[in-house]
Structure formats: C-alpha cells, structure tokens
Symmetry: C2
Subunit: 228 residues, 2 copies
C-alpha cells in the first residue's frame, strides 16, 4: 500500500488539479465508469499520481464528494435572518435556497450531480454527508415549519412536511432531463426559472401546511389497513 502524501500548499499543485478534474468526471459518469487514466489525462498528470496522492481511486472519490459539498455550500450560502423575520418569509427564502443550491440555471453544477449520486446510491461517504450537512439543514427547515404552525408538531408529521417540501425541490433536479422531454421547450425557458419554481413550491407548500394543520388529528389515524 502506498503512503499518502498530503500536499498542504494549495494552489495549482498536482493534487489540487486531480481533485478539480476528478469532480466533473465522477459526477458525469459515476465512480465505476470513471477511469483513473481519464482523470489523469484531463489533469495532465501521470497515471501514478492518484495512487501517490490519494492512496487509491476510492479515497480520491471520497475527497471529491466532500469537497463538492463544501464548494456548493460556499457558492450558495444560507440567508441571514433577523429575529423579527416572519416565518412565511423564512419559508420562501429557504425554498429558494434549496432550489438555488440544486439547480443553477445557467451551467449545471457538477457538484450537485455528484451529491445526487450519493443520495441515490449511498456509499460510506453518504453517512458523512448526512451528519455534516443534511441533518442540520433539515433541522433548520423543521424549525421554520414549527414556527409557521405555531406549536411543535409530532416528530413524524413535521418530518413528512419537511420531506414534502424538499421532495418538490429535488424533483426539479432529479427529473430535470425527463421533465424537459415532457413539456414544451419554450415553456421550460419561460415558466421554470428559479423564481417561478420557488414561488410555486412556496404557495403549494404553505397551502399544504395550513390545510394539514386544520385537519383533525383523528382523521389521520382512521385509515390504517395495510396491503401490498
């Protein structure tokens, strides 16, 4: 097993070059389909460099995913709220934040595609992502939901509402290419920009939230026959 060499001096070093070139390639084709030779060729380094700097292909992949998440968070930072910001505004801001992180309208960010892969087919790296990023992120959303409802909802209800909001946003990233096959090209350009989508998800979710709240809790428990 080769010893891993951490080149702490950042910049245009070989290590950095590999890391930056590996990202888009892993994102585009997945771990398995990506070859170390392709990365090295793209980064203009020798094939042996990956093993020299990262030990093996897997560890390079792990580093790439972690970096991708950090980059994306840095590219699209969380909004700052004052103590007086009302929860409705927070919700819209948060939905906009999710969509902004997920779908960059102009150039599809490879960072997101890489993270999508981890969500769909988690490797060991995914546990790291959940603890470091997804969980605290999700908790912020749950806090907003509680504020909107006015009291603390049961855990599972609150979570499901959170998932409903995130699910809507994720749809436009996960199924983007298929959606484009479904609707008119011009419609996609005109009606599916970031603000349009955010506005829609906001209105739809706010309605869902209020309606959910107004429904008697007993109704939720009435139908409970499980099949399939």
């Amino acid at each position: 097993m080769p010893t891993i060499h951490q080149n702490s001096t950042s910049g245009d070093s070989t290590r950095e070059r590999i890391l930056m070139e590996a990202g888009p390639i892993f994102a585009g084709k997945g771990f398995r389909a990506t070859t170390v030779r392709e990365i090295c060729e793209q980064a203009n380094v020798n094939v042996a460099s990956i093993n020299y700097y990262f030990g093996d292909k897997r560890q390079l992949y792990h580093q790439t995913v972690v970096l991708a998440r950090e980059m994306r968070v840095e590219q699209v930072p969380e909004p700052k709220w004052s103590s007086t910001t009302d929860p409705e505004e927070k919700l819209l801001d948060f939905i906009t934040l999710i969509l902004r992180r997920l779908v960059a309208m102009q150039t599809e960010p490879w960072q997101v595609r890489l993270l999508m892969r981890e969500i769909l087919e988690p490797t060991e790296t995914c546990k790291h992502l959940v603890e470091e990023y997804f969980r605290p992120f999700f908790n912020t959303l749950c806090g907003i939901i509680d504020d909107l409802v006015g009291y603390r909802l049961p855990e599972h209800t609150r979570n499901k509402i959170g998932f409903s909001i995130i699910g809507q946003c994720l749809y436009y990233r996960f199924s983007a290419e298929m959606t484009r096959l479904m609707i008119e090209q011009q419609d996609y350009v005109d009606q599916y920009d970031l603000d349009n989508l955010a506005q829609h998800v906001y209105l739809f979710s706010l309605g869902g939230l209020k309606h959910y709240q107004s429904v008697d809790e007993s109704t939720l428990k009435s139908t409970s026959t499980t099949d399939q």
Copy 2:
C-alpha cells in the same frame, strides 16, 4: 455484427433467462458496472449468448428496461373509476397508485430501480418510456387536478402542481436510503408505510391545490427578478 436471434417461444428459454437475470443486476449496479459475464453466470448460460440473442450489451439493457416497465404496470394496475367517483377520491387513489408502483414495502422491486436510473441519467431508452408511459400517466393526473379546481388551469400551472405531487412521491423512492439515515428506525417502520405516506401526500397536496387556487393570479407574476 452478429445476427440477432428472436426466440419467439417464450418460457424458460435461454433468452428469457438472460432477460430476467439481467434486470436485477442492471438495476443494482447500473449499465456500465454490470458485466456480461456476471449476468451469464447468474443465468447459467455461456458468455456468447448475450451477443447471440441481443446483438450486444446495450440492446440487452434496452430490452430489460422496457420489460421492467411493463412488469411493474402489470404488478400494480391503475384503479378503475366509475363516472360518479369524485375527484378527491381519485386524487387519493392516484397518489396511492404512484406510491404503490414506486415503493413496494416488503421487497424493493428491481424494476423501479432500473426505471429510476433512466430518469436520472436518460439514455435513448428514456424517450421510449416518456412517450409510452410517463406522458399518458401524467395526463391522467392533470385531468384529476383540473376536475378538483373546477376549470382548466393554465398549462404550466397545472403541470407544476402535477410535478409537486409526483415529486413528493418520488422523494420516498429516490431518497429512501438517505431518509433512513435521517430518522429513527422505529419511526420509519411505524409512520412511513404506504397508507401513511399516501394520506400525508394527499392532504398536503389537496391543501396546496386549494390554496394555490385561492391566490390571486396577479400575485404570481409580481416577483420576477431573476438572479443566479
């Protein structure tokens, strides 16, 4: 190029065996990571059989995806509605149908995972799926939405509402493994069965729909500054 031999007599033929064994493997690891040798070993046939019956690996993959869709639709057929069925009931039925097709609670169906891959990274096969399946399916949902609202919504509004409903359902398939990392194991068993999820998505969406409807159309157009 080898000539493709269509073995029309179905049953336990070599061709059928390859097709059935290839499905779960493609679903589990994707096209590229799957090796023809693994499929053949699993199906107890010679390595040359795939090229003999399907031409090459790609065409086998295509056939597998098409078959997977047909199987899943057959496994979970659409509900029958009478002319007097009210749209609320139709919506709940339809949401249940989507969830039932997506998430089989006991054994995760490989057919769905295979179709997920096509949605996420469309190949040529995806066009076939959209035209043959997704579009008519989506149109049924849009019809229900129109019935609920009482009149025909603008195309893009109606579509977005449809995507919001489908997005929520898709979430529980796409992000299932990550969601399990997020919440308590016991909660997942108790609160995330099919009926619970269907009930939640139904209530949330109905609320979203009604609220959306009540909002003045002009408000939708007010915020239109696009950044990012």
